[in-house]
Amino acid sequence: MGYPYPSHPKETPVLSKHFGEVEARTFDGWVARGGYEALKKALAMTPEEIVAEVKASGLRGRGGAGFPTGMKWSFMPKDDGKPHYLCCNADESEPGTFKDREIIRWTPHALIEGCAIGCLGIRAETCYIYIRGEFTEPWHILVAAVAEAYAKGALGENAFGSGRRIDIVVHRGAGAYICGEETALMNSIEGRRGNPRVKPPFPAVAGLFGMPTTINNVETLAAVPVILTRGSAWYAGLSLSSPKSTGSKLFSVCGHVQRPGTYEITMGLPMRELIYDMCGGMLPGRTLKAVIPGGSSVPIMNAADIEDCPMDYEGIVAHGSMLGSGGMIVMDDTTDMVYQVMRLARFYADESCAQCTNCREGTAWTTKILERILAGEGKPTDLDLLLSLADNMTGKTICVLSDSCAVPVVSGLQKFRGEFEAYLSGATAPVTAGV
């Protein structure tokens, strides 16, 4: 459903079906809604069977990169005799993204069940759910739900009497966007600074505590139970874009729309329908200027780009951006693009872990240059300088936070260059016509 609004007829409520129902947060409430059937089913399956079902569903990672989940699980070693770990990424800090928090707040047992099934699929006994420190209410709800799952015998040394051990530990972050990066998250759980690690080795070889580890986003794992109960074919068939983008997907829409919220749609629905029908379109008298469709790390689209753009992985790429985390930021004609590009650059400068020179210096200088352009003190060469900095920040660092800072700069300049030039030529008020 389009939380906090009632479900829109164009939605496909699968994961969001029980948002807003307080009883769904309890173990019994979840069981009454068909919960924990999937886990019981998985306990009778082999890891290979679980992975095969997830592979067949076409589920792709919902954390940003869209990597096929079943394939990721199949990278885990088989008879290595080492402990394996599952990490659930509940760090949700990418600007524009607020969908995982609704899953955690409303259907914590869907996540717990998904984590438990994930453990079985990758031969792990322990899953750590890393939740951002600012999510205080979701954290309390999740901790209570995990405790209840233990009390009811779904978790622990003998999950549902199967003789299998499944432990879930909720680990609270303490304020750092970078801890959403998979290896930074692992360092953070280990009690270290949240610096991303150099890869390889990849987590499936040496991840958390040096052991084979799989990491998945909240929404990815929460989709697994329904795939097991309703079947991979049913899940894949929900989409208008099968077989490449399957299932349903939560999009959190924010910014200048009438009804911001978290909407669940089938992959492939036109972006226009999401913005204009479901979210109610622009505020009275305003027009759409820009859309950042997948969290702040994906390219900015202008009004022309969104025409005919379907909401799926391939479709958004074909229209110049990426699906990313599913956090959609809509900006209308009152938006000063130069200011907002600066504000995004500042986000990355604030959040850089500072290990890599290109990122540490590049994010800070990009912000400074944009600030001086905004102050009317820009130099004619500044736009080229920004692009050359962006080039030096792309593909040259340990993680992609650096690349992400370059993205709004490059796409902003591509789509709204006139506004930057207006500042350079001494205009004080923002120019609002996109290219």
């Binding site: 402990p83 420190g133 270290r192 600074r193 949240g194 995004l344």
Partner: protein, 166 residues
């Protein structure tokens, strides 16, 4: 040193808090992994993480104070100084920014009497800081007052919200 700074560290890890920490040991294969949870317990008990707290956590987990300090400073949510009775974090990242977050900051600074970001109001009641995305972007402007997320804050409803935090 400010008058709030502790002179003698009164141990945090005794009684129930110690039991809470010890209950976590079996959940992790290393002691070091208890560092973030232990620091949270210190902050919960004392409102901030003092040097004495750093040393105590280090002793409990077998880590040097320098190591603990290095980790504390990486994360923005641990306070290394005492803060007001109510700690307010306001998101001003782009999605909230375009919906008026900077005006909310101004209103908060005025009505709390803090005057500037990071400062504590003269009555010791509030500290206001600007933060990046709180993961509640659809409900601009969200603020976090202590552990409460308050959504849809506007410059106008700031006084009503503050009144709930004496």
């Amino acid at each position: 040193m400010s008058s709030h700074a502790e002179t003698v560290h009164d141990p945090v890890f005794v009684g129930d808090t110690l039991a809470k920490l010890e209950a976590l040991y079996p959940k992790y294969p290393t002691k070091m992994a208890l560092l973030l949870p232990a620091l949270w317990m210190v902050q919960e008990a004392r409102g901030w993480v003092s040097e004495g707290g750093v040393i105590e956590v280090g002793e409990k987990l077998g880590l040097t104070p320098a190591y603990v300090r290095g980790v504390v400073s990486f994360y923005t949510m641990y306070h290394t100084h005492p803060v007001g009775r109510h700690f307010i974090q306001v998101c001003t990242t782009s999605p909230c920014n375009i919906c008026g977050a900077e005006d909310v900051v101004k209103s908060l600074l005025r009505h709390t009497g803090c005057g500037e970001l990071g400062a504590t109001s003269p009555d010791g009641r509030f500290t206001v800081v600007e933060v990046e995305c709180l993961g509640a972007c659809g409900f601009a402007t969200p603020i976090l007052v202590d552990d409460d997320t308050v959504e849809s804050v506007t410059p106008e409803n700031v006084p009503t919200i503050l009144a709930r935090y004496p």
